[in-house]
């Protein structure tokens, strides 16, 4: 019995120390590996600089920079590839295998395009240098505009039918470039633009007014700013907004997408009443296999219409509409097209 106890004890001790012993042996093995490693000829990739700050450039310009490197190790350096982050391209211009003390270069090009603001882009150089398998190069700087416009797009928001709405735009010019704003205009007949005289030099301000738009729904357009800048001869400032009548609805088109026959697919329309006197009088659907249920959304007065298709609807394209009749004088009927496809 004593023998069995002894063996049991030994077995448990072995089990307990086995996990720790793994680390002890592993650590020893690592030491041995390191000693061997030191004898192996390793490459060593060294760049002259890791970061290049291009300072300031103007919109549309591009910057080229060569990052010089050297293999100061003993072994052959192999550059597997060079990968860049969005907005810049990079290429290895020298050969990809370099012996001891050989030099090479990675060319990086950053193209500002339409980008404006501070920028930091990175390029990863993948090599066989065990200490720098992925070497990160950074190109940083700022892209500025000769002519900067704020805001970049005008949002008129929600306007009641018949109302007007005015927003302002500011144009700033880089002082030393002596650029002039020649003209600010919009081809939209409902838009008027007037200059707001301000005392600051190299700064212009304009009021853009949307006047009594009759049309109910979303509108958009562009304000053109012409300047004497060669890089920014014309700056386009898009504008958008929505003229609302007595009620608004979403979505304007009801898409069921494509789905299998028998699948229960429900779509929802939400109707908001701007004029609280307005009521839904009746709803018609075309074809008749389009079903709907009207309910009120959390006691807000807003109506919710859940729309679905009868299960017996035949396979093929769905083309129909849902018509909402109201007591509104300006929006007596709302037509919402319905599209989709039932697959077999």
């Amino acid at each position: 019995m004593k023998e069995i106890r002894k063996y049991l004890l030994v077995l448990i001790c072995i089990l307990l120390i086995s996990e720790n012993s793994y680390y002890i042996f592993a650590a020893d093995n690592k030491k041995i590996e390191n000693v061997i490693d030191e004898k192996v000829e390793k490459p060593n990739l060294v760049f002259e600089e890791q970061t290049y700050d291009f300072g300031r450039i103007y919109i549309g310009e591009s910057v080229n920079h060569g990052f010089k490197f050297k293999n100061i190790g003993v072994g052959e350096l192999v550059i597997n590839n060079v990968k860049s982050s969005c907005g810049c391209t990079a290429a290895l211009v020298s050969k990809n295998k370099l012996l001891k003390d050989e030099e090479g270069q990675v060319d990086v090009k950053f193209n500002a395009g339409h980008y404006v603001g501070k920028v930091t882009k990175s390029v990863i150089v993948n090599s066989n240098d065990p200490e720098n398998l992925k070497y990160k190069l950074i190109i940083t700087g700022e892209v500025i505009e000769e002519v900067s416009v704020s805001p970049k797009r005008i949002n008129f928001g929600i306007i009641r039918r018949g109302d007007s709405c005015t927003k302002s735009i500011e144009i700033k010019i880089v002082p030393e470039l002596k650029i002039e704003v020649k003209k600010v205009e919009s081809p939209n007949p409902y838009v008027t633009i007037t200059q707001n005289k301000i005392s600051e030099e190299n700064k212009y301000s304009y009021f853009v007014t949307i006047n009594k738009y009759d049309y109910i729904g979303k509108f958009n357009g562009i304000v053109f700013i012409y300047s004497s800048s060669n890089k920014q001869e014309r700056i386009d400032v898009p504008f958008s907004g929505e003229v609302v009548g007595d009620l608004t609805f979403y979505p304007e088109n009801l898409y069921f997408g494509s789905f299998k026959k028998g699948q229960d697919v429900k779509k929802t329309i939400i109707i908001n009443f701007v004029n609280k006197e307005v009521k839904i009088e009746k709803i018609e659907t075309e074809p008749s296999n389009i079903n709907y249920i009207v309910s009120e959304l959390n006691n807000t007065g807003t109506k919710k219409i859940d729309v679905n298709l009868s299960k017996d609807t035949t396979v093929g394209k769905i083309t129909g509409s849902l018509k909402i009749y109201t007591n509104s004088v300006i929006q007596p009927v709302i037509n919402i097209p319905i599209n989709g496809e039932i697959k077999g």
């Binding site: 860049s84 969005c86 882009k121 929600i158 608004t248 919710k304």
Partner: protein, 457 residues
């Protein structure tokens, strides 16, 4: 005998420990954000990563492992306003819903899409819209949650996770000011963190803010266990930061990566040592590469998206800008009338068949794609749709040399001088990362022509 009992105690302890740790449940916080309208890799080059289709496959693989998954969205599903962005937002919200996302934190780009859409989606989508510091004052009723508390209950215990979401004031701009009021994030968080600290085992913040601001928040609120952040972080793998025990992580931009923070929930220990639960086992940022097969459900949704673009004829509805100096496009065939040799050469290049590459992919109704596969799209007299402008399909002569109306009127005019900056308009890093002018020029370089002088009319 004493030794025997000692050993018995040790064995029992090992057995109990194994049992306890063996009962741990894995919980995965799956995070994504800043899709900026990228529904799928556009297909311009091999090796593109991202897309909802691969994301679905990845999430589904976790689901099949029977792990508890909580997918959350940081914000900025789209990148600007306009009808195409609205459609994209609807499609993305539908995709998130099908992937069982529990919440979407509002980013400034989401707000720019418009109050009516936000109202609609917040009322009809199963995903909770979250923002602890954004107040929407539009006339459209909008359901925004200040926080989301999720509770998981098993046979013996329960654990709770509180999600908070903020939008940095630095992203506030004129396009969203009309209907949005943004409270200082720290002020909004002070109250809520205090309120939720005792209610939840773990507080997670979706911080739609620059990394620096999120780090400051982590310092001020050590109660927050995980901060999902990032704005413009292109390499999320390199950006994982720790402030004390709080991990600050990002899934990057463009929907290319998915972040996964893994937690081991020890049902037996959690009530006694709640903090055990709050420490994440690991955070992984996974690139959505072709290792993940496209999911059929998302492929079908993407087809619906293209169908919507076609049904609405969005191509024809895009505003057309006037060309400078009153110029207009004349089309490839007009150029080919005189420059036959060049035209024949061009028609055999990739530029000459670029429209077909879109048709083969089913993207020929997508205004975002069509711009670089046709001539003059977005300008008056440029390509508008196939029915009316078959002479302007493909990357034609005027795509590189400019609109040719004046040249046609007066052939002696200096026309056609161009440089490689024109190439960059389409061959950017996002769509053509391998582009090098020298090599690519060789692929399209057309033969020189010696044209006879035309008689004066």
């Amino acid at each position: 005998m004493k030794m025997y009992f000692g050993c018995l105690i040790i064995v029992t302890f090992i057995f109990i420990s194994t049992k306890i740790y063996g009962s741990a449940t894995d919980l995965l916080i799956i995070f994504s954000g800043e899709e900026l309208g990228n529904l799928e890799p556009c297909g311009c080059f091999e090796g593109q990563i991202g897309g909802i289709s691969r994301r679905y496959a990845l999430i589904d693989s976790f689901r099949k492992q029977k792990k508890i998954i909580l997918p959350v969205s940081l914000g900025d599903l789209t990148k600007s306003s306009g009808r195409q962005e609205v459609i994209k937002m609807e499609i993305l919200c539908c995709a998130l819903e099908r992937m069982d996302y529990i919440l979407h934190n509002l980013g400034e780009k989401d707000l720019e899409v418009g109050p009516q859409l936000i109202s609609y989606l917040s009322q009809t989508n199963k995903i909770a819209f979250l923002s602890s510091n954004v107040q929407i004052t539009s006339p459209f009723p909008t359901k925004i949650n200040k926080y989301v508390l999720k509770e998981y209950v098993d046979s013996k215990n329960s654990f709770k996770i509180a999600f908070l979401g903020i939008l940095s004031k630095s992203f506030f701009n004129n396009n969203i000011s009309d209907f949005v009021n943004i409270i200082e994030p720290i002020k909004a968080l002070e109250l809520l963190v205090k309120q939720l600290h005792d209610k939840a085992n773990l507080i997670i913040l979706l911080s739609h803010a620059p990394l620096g601001e999120s780090i400051e928040i982590a310092k001020l609120f050590p109660e927050i266990g995980l901060i999902i952040t990032g704005h413009g972080i292109e390499e999320p793998k390199d950006s994982i930061t720790y402030v004390n025990n709080t991990a600050i992580v990002s899934s990057g931009t463009g929907g290319k990566y998915i972040g996964v923070a893994e937690y081991s929930i020890n049902n037996k220990l959690a009530p006694l040592y709640a903090k055990v639960f709050t420490k994440s086992k690991s955070v992984e940022i996974i690139p959505l590469d072709n290792k993940y097969k496209d999911s059929l459900e998302m492929v079908s949704l993407l087809k619906d998206y293209q169908q919507m673009l076609m049904d609405e004829d969005l191509l024809s509805k895009t505003p057309q800008m006037p060309l400078l100096n009153g110029l207009s496009y004349v089309g490839n065939l007009t150029c080919g009338t005189c420059h036959k040799l060049v035209y024949d050469h061009w028609s055999k290049t990739q530029h000459g068949v670029s429209y077909n590459t879109l048709v083969n992919k089913g993207h020929q109704y997508d205004p975002e794609c069509i711009r670089c596969h046709t001539t003059g799209y977005g300008f008056i007299s440029g390509f508008l749709n196939y029915e009316n402008n078959q002479n302007l399909i493909n990357v034609g002569c005027e795509s590189c040399h400019g609109a040719g109306s004046e040249h046609v009127k007066n052939v002696s005019n200096v026309y056609g001088v161009t440089d490689e900056s024109i190439c960059d308009m389409c061959h950017d890093n996002e769509h053509s990362p391998e582009f090098q002018f020298k090599g690519y020029w060789e692929r399209i370089k057309h033969p020189k022509e010696f044209l006879k002088k035309l008689p004066k009319p």
